[in-house]
Symmetry: C2
Subunit: 175 residues, 2 copies
């Protein structure tokens, strides 16, 4: 019945989102990801439909399917799911972040630093602005979950660091 699956970060994202919503369809998850998590962790939508299915197989979720029309699938945490999620959240992690930065790659292999810098600065500045807007909007609404707020702030910090770094490069200074 419950063959043993290994739970990936994506699995926990799905579990956590469904846990938060009570009951949700994959589409709801897709929306939720786009509005929040998507800011710092991408999950392709095909994944978001496939993962709940896998999780249901492993008894982490229970599934209820609409009869007519869209035949939506609604998912809920099972007890096993609740437990898995709770355990994961309770366990802090020292695991390292992984950073994949195409700009760094070119820099590493000898791409022209100044030209790279100006391209990178453009996108990082834009991103910073977006995040700043987001952060401001959140100030207004006090019921924003603390975790969300903190991750946005973390994002701000990183964008600023990137901008600092590339600015120095652009100026031809040693960073």
């Amino acid at each position: 019945m419950s063959s043993e699956h290994r739970l990936s970060p994506t699995s926990y994202i799905v579990l956590a989102l469904i846990g938060g919503a009570g009951e949700a369809t994959p589409y709801d998850l897709k929306q939720a990801v786009a509005m929040t998590l998507g800011n710092f962790w991408s999950v392709p939508h095909a994944q978001i439909y496939a993962e709940p299915e896998r999780l249901a197989e492993g008894d982490y979720l229970s599934e209820r399917r609409e009869d007519g029309g869209r035949r939506r699938r609604y998912y809920k945490l099972t007890e096993k799911g609740e437990k898995a999620l709770g355990d994961w959240l309770a366990e802090p992690t020292g695991e390292m972040a992984e950073l994949r930065d195409p700009g760094m790659l070119k820099l590493f292999f000898g791409g022209n630093p100044e030209r790279l810098a100006s391209a990178q600065l453009a996108t990082h500045r834009q991103r910073l602005t977006e995040l700043e807007t987001l952060a401001e909007q959140m100030e207004g609404q006090p019921q924003v979950p603390r975790g969300y707020l903190l991750t946005v702030r973390a994002g701000l910090g990183h964008e600023r660091e990137w901008i600092r770094f590339w600015s120095l490069i652009e100026q031809g200074e040693e960073p």
Copy 2:
């Protein structure tokens, strides 16, 4: 003969490393990655054996195989490969970095911030020390490629930013 493949970041890593070495076996690449690039971009070793094969099929690399013993494969850039590499390096990129940080994920979903912070601080501090050592060693040797130096410095900056962020969290302050 030269069916059209799409070149991924991994492809360019392989091309660039082989370009730098003149001629190399996949194992050489594996070593090279481990010593340098691995600091900020992971490439699973199975990839490192598979990719040159694909690239050779696309005429980006030429292959020469040892007769006896290990039957090592030696790869070299073809003209097409040189061109592809040159073009890639010359073209700056505005593409965004992708950051996948398991700690952030837990923070986002409501994991205990202080406990997370102390676990994360431990690994980031360790990483910072490693990078500092690396950077110092490089100061001595003036023939270290500039790109390598710069990416290590970028890494230092990010580690410091992470430490700043998590320290604030640990202290219970608003970051």
